[in-house]
Amino acid sequence: MRLLRSRAALLAGLVVLGVVLAVCLLASVRFGAARIGTMEVISAFTDYDRTSEEDLIVRTLRVPRALIAALVGASLAVAGAIMQGLTRNPLADPGILGIEAGAALAVVGAVFLLGVSSLSTYALFAFAGAGVAAAVVYGLGSLGRGGMTPMKLTIAGAALAALLTSLTTAILIIDRQTLEEIRFWLAGSVAGRDLELLVQVLPYVSLGLLLALGLARQITTLTLGDEVAAGLGQRTGLVKLLAALAVVLLAGSAVSVAGPIGFVGLVVPHVVRFFAGVDYRWILPYSALAGAVLLVCADLAARLVLRPMELPVGVMTALVGAPFFVYLARWRVKR
């Protein structure tokens, strides 16, 4: 059962969501810790003055930050949707591939052992950690006969994620300095990310999104079960592997830029399904836009509620998104 019944309604919904995202992005550039008027924001683009503090804030801080928030949100939501399809479990998210746990351990380990301290080095370690963890989980989930099955992948992922998380906690408990250094990153944030970081991850995210959208039809078939998909002529092993690769590219990039942000990947696909049904050709684009909207709004709220202090966006996504999600789950989930 979905709210948008016809193809035209689905398309219109996508356009509306796109407009909402554009409005949110503009709001994210307009509002922030520093009070800058609308006209000054516009003049930062039309008449850029390098010596003006306002112009600098708008162009080098707010614009990249808004774009990064959108990109991270879209990546996480699409990766979550794929994971839920791949494991056929409504509770799955990129965390099931060990991505957040692997990234967190790699970064915390690097801070503890090597004393690294810049956001771009964190990004490097996070991406590597996420990739290694995902490969190990996928390998464990494919052990034994029959290759990767949703059940084996889910359980192996949950077990490995728990293991990695406890190692991270062990380091944080032993070493207070590392805890102090890294706790804001661990809460998930898009503050202080510059255009360069965005440019670094853009190719991976684009590739991941293209791969995901290209696989949308196959993933829909796969949710009907391996046998059905194979019966319809699908090479299920290959599709699953490519889908997992898309998840690693998307969620790995997201976590490397913004730190581990939960909730988005788990919840956005569910919200989307209420509107767009079960076809991944609609779920994926809807998830991308809705995830971007959620993260941009959450980041805006994170900057404004306690201005000039700032909350981590990973906290705000849950505080902004959960009430809406609980409302939908209460009224739209029948059985």
């Binding site: 479990n89 949950a158 728990a162 909730f263 849950a318 959960a322 209460r330």
Partner: protein, 346 residues
């Protein structure tokens, strides 16, 4: 074909799965060995035979042994076992009720509620005496569970609605906890992390006595309901067709699950992994029928936490690791081995 014996007395019939009984006996035996070893190690090492003698109240070479074993060290080992058993039972019930292998007290927000309450006391209100943390955590867990049930109830409860709303509520509680972890005084944050990881450090008979009857009550209630839980895992329609009062049984089992998890978490902090994984370990050992699965899960959960606490005390001495960290380090490889073995068989 499984060998079964059936106990029949009057209108009551209780099928006994002999294989499950053997597995549970084995797990309990291993836990007992773990407890004896656990009690033996420490700054004042005592050999296992002396531990057993002291436990039984027999005379040993050293009269201090009786005090060290029975007063100082035994309660901690027993608390570890009970906490593990309670969490595992809670997880097994939840997984059966929701028909989802990822369901666990930590997934549906019960742990998050307890965590929020405890971390608030530790970080935001450090002047509050530490003795208030367990009851606060208990209240936090129960409050989340009650909110969850109320929000998910619409004339009938639905497993998928329960877990989705649980995830939502849990996310809010976790977010608020994260704020305190991110901005609190580093000293207190470090303490809060230990609590959030789960530890049985310094637990004595005082913590054990309230836990025991509580676990006995809700644990045995759950065991008596195992047959209905089996029916519920087949789906609401099938269960109703088998004559099970679906809403009543689900409510009752959920109550057991919440009560067990809340008591465990209040005693030892939010120990993760056990509630999620011990049921899977048990399922690989005795199969999916809850009559055997629930006791096997309880025994493996208990064994896991005893073993974890033992390792946490010995491996890094003189430093001590909270058992919550070690449970997954001990449990995950074991579990993956089981996964590998049974993957071949299937």
């Amino acid at each position: 074909m499984r060998r079964r014996a059936v106990l029949r007395r009057g209108g009551l019939s209780l099928p006994l799965d002999l294989r499950a009984a053997a597995v549970v006996a084995g797990l309990l035996g291993a836990s007992l060995v773990g407890i004896v070893l656990h009690v033996g190690v420490g700054e004042y090492p005592i050999s296992p035979p002396d531990v057993v003698r002291a436990l039984l109240g027999l005379s040993t070479g050293d009269e201090n042994y009786y005090f060290i074993v029975n007063v100082l060290r035994l309660p901690r080992a027993l608390v570890a076992f009970l906490v593990g058993a309670a969490l595992a039972l809670s997880g097994a019930i939840l997984q059966g009720l929701t028909r989802n292998p990822l369901a666990a007290p930590e997934i549906v927000g019960i742990n998050a509620g307890a965590g929020l309450a405890a971390v608030t006391l530790i970080v935001a209100l450090p002047s509050v005496p530490a003795a208030l943390i367990p009851p606060a955590a208990f209240v936090g867990a129960v409050a989340v569970a009650a909110t969850l049930y109320l929000l998910a109830w619409r004339g009938e409860s639905s497993p998928i609605r329960l877990i989705l709303i649980g995830v939502g509520i849990g996310a809010v509680a976790t977010a608020l906890t994260t704020i305190m972890i991110t901005y609190g005084e580093i000293e207190q944050v470090s303490q809060a992390l230990v609590w959030l990881t789960g530890s049985v450090y310094g637990r004595s008979w005082e913590e054990l006595w309230p836990l025991l009857p509580w676990l006995a009550l809700f644990g045995s209630l759950a065991l008596l309901r195992a047959r209905h839980l089996n029916a519920l895992t087949l789906g609401d329609e099938v269960a109703a067709g088998l004559g099970v009062g679906v809403e009543r049984e689900r409510g009752l089992l959920l109550l057991c699950s919440v009560a067990l998890a809340a008591a465990a978490v209040a005693t030892a902090g939010t120990v993760g992994f056990v509630g999620l994984m011990a049921p899977h370990i048990a399922r690989r050992l005795v199969g999916p029928s809850h009559g055997g699965l629930l006791p096997a899960a309880a025994a493996s959960g208990g064994m896991l936490v005893v073993a974890a606490d033992l390792v946490g005390r010995v491996a890094f001495s003189p430093l001590e690791m909270p058992c919550g960290i070690i449970t997954s380090a001990v449990g995950a490889p074991f579990f993956i081995y089981l996964l590998y073995r049974s993957a071949d068989a299937k």
